[in-house]
């Protein structure tokens, strides 16, 4: 816009470059814990007096993430202006299977997301807690790997936007359900979940025909006749 133009006229290219680099740095610091970044915080902590050229700075930030790091900065909430970082590169087995450390929370999260997906979108919390109990994870007790499980699931995973934890209307006593959060929708591959699910049950992924269609919306209504091999 003309306002941005006027703003740009007053700062040097190097200054814009420098601000963009600071924004990249800030977002990467916040991403250490996978907490989404809010525009308001970005402006307050980094952009400061440069807010009138915000669009130009963000254009360069997106470019840097994409070209230097292979990452994509996605605005998951266009009203509140909240951003998360997503990997643009496909995981490559030969490069990732070596020693590199693994976060056990990913396993727990996978279990919860899988149950929600297999139950087609929403699951009462009771079912999640019961499933976890069968896996020796009791939300009422301190777990030696996960610590406070209830907090991890209903607070950390929710703040990271992997899960939504919402009250079911008109329930007495109060009942809550879990759904996929926006980060999960962007980061997690449904065909891959179904593929792993098939391995666990020694079954073809297609045998869960509805979930298979959910995972492959491009296949359209007829459903599970196409081979799944090409999917990643």
């Amino acid at each position: 816009s003309s306002q941005v133009q006027r703003g740009l006229a007053r700062v040097s290219n190097a200054q814009v470059e420098q601000k963009a680099a600071e924004v990249v740095q800030y977002i990467m610091v916040k991403d250490q814990k996978k907490i989404p970044v809010r525009r308001a915080d970005l402006v307050k902590h980094v952009i400061k007096d440069y807010r009138n050229i915000y669009p130009e700075i963000m254009k360069r930030v997106l470019q840097t993430f994409s070209q230097v790091f292979g990452l994509e900065l996605v605005e998951i909430d266009t009203k509140a202006h909240v951003y998360i970082l997503i990997n643009k590169l496909e995981p490559h087995e030969a490069l990732t299977t070596n020693q590199g450390s693994v976060n056990p929370k990913t396993g727990l999260l996978w279990v919860i997301l899988s149950v929600i997906f297999m139950k087609r979108g929403a699951v009462k919390e009771g079912l999640i807690w019961n499933t976890l109990k069968k896996l020796r994870v009791d939300p009422g007790e301190r777990h030696e790997v996960f610590g406070d499980v209830k907090k991890l699931v209903t607070d950390e995973f929710v703040r990271q936007r992997y899960l939504e934890y919402v009250r079911i209307p008109h329930t007495e006593p109060l009942e809550c359900e879990f759904r996929w959060g926006q980060r999960a929708e962007l980061e997690v591959s449904k065909p891959q979940i179904l593929h792993f699910m098939g391995q666990l049950h020694e079954r073809e992924p297609q045998s869960w025909s509805q979930q298979y269609r959910d995972a492959h919306p491009s296949l359209g209504a007829p459903g599970p006749s196409q081979p799944s091999r090409s999917q990643r």
Binding site: E17, Q32, N98
Partner: protein, 230 residues
């Protein structure tokens, strides 16, 4: 590089080859460092760098992606609390001022009592130290802590600046030296990394200090197998 905090030369070459394959360009094996320079030209704008350094344990070369800036933004980092960072900093103080680059776990745990920010219980300090080992900032071997390769690569400019009068360079490879041997001669006192000692004295009948020519009184370690293979 971001998910693996440290990669050795072989892994770095594999990554380089993988990048060449993806972009269908010919891969020239000895151009790895040129390739890294090209990446660094981009990373430098974001105050990051891929840097090379030697492991003080096995003498092999490693690459690490490191941060170069110390700003209000970098201090927002969320991995460790203030008192945990103070514990780390004071552990580093002790390691740097030690003669052989190691301190006992007892000494490390005793720091917990002298924290200015917020005191840690012994058991909490133990957990923090374990995490620092897990996150590859410290090495732990037989109850002794030393600085990890990744830590030395990233912290080198800081260490040189903050511990200017304590830190010594290796007489052979000229990098900062912690786990090393020292010449006994009071007028000399040069340091040599253990792996550099092994390489330098290999095959010499009577070991003598390369600086003052006095007899080298320490036991000469064996050349680690991974180096002798080349």
């Amino acid at each position: 590089m971001m998910s693996n905090s440290l990669v050795d030369e072989r892994e770095a070459s594999t990554l380089y080859k993988h990048c060449c394959d993806i972009h269908k360009v010919p891969c020239v094996p000895d151009k790895l460092d040129d390739f890294i320079d090209t990446i660094n030209a981009k990373l430098q704008l974001m105050f990051m760098q891929i840097r090379k350094g030697m492991s003080e344990v096995n003498g092999r070369q490693y690459y690490a992606l490191v941060n170069m800036a110390e700003t209000d933004i970098t201090r927002m980092s969320s991995d460790y609390a203030d008192n945990e960072l103070e514990l780390f900093r004071k552990t580093m103080d002790l390691i740097v001022s030690s003669e052989n680059g190691k301190i006992s776990s007892t000494d490390a745990l005793n720091i917990a009592d002298s924290l200015m920010t917020k005191r840690l219980k012994k058991s909490e300090a133990e957990q923090v130290l374990n995490r620092l080992v897990q996150d590859k900032w410290l090495n732990e071997k037989r109850g002794e802590f030393s600085l990890s390769t990744k830590c030395i690569i990233e912290m080198e400019p800081y260490i040189r600046r903050m511990y200017e009068d304590q830190v010594k360079l290796c007489h052979i490879c000229h990098n900062i030296a912690f786990q090393s041997q020292i010449c006994d001669s009071p007028t000399c006192g040069i340091k040599i990394h253990n792996p550099c000692v092994a390489r330098y004295f290999k095959g010499r009948v009577e070991p003598r200090c390369p600086a003052c020519d006095e007899f080298w009184p320490h036991e000469i370690p064996e050349v680690p197998r991974s180096i002798s293979r080349r």
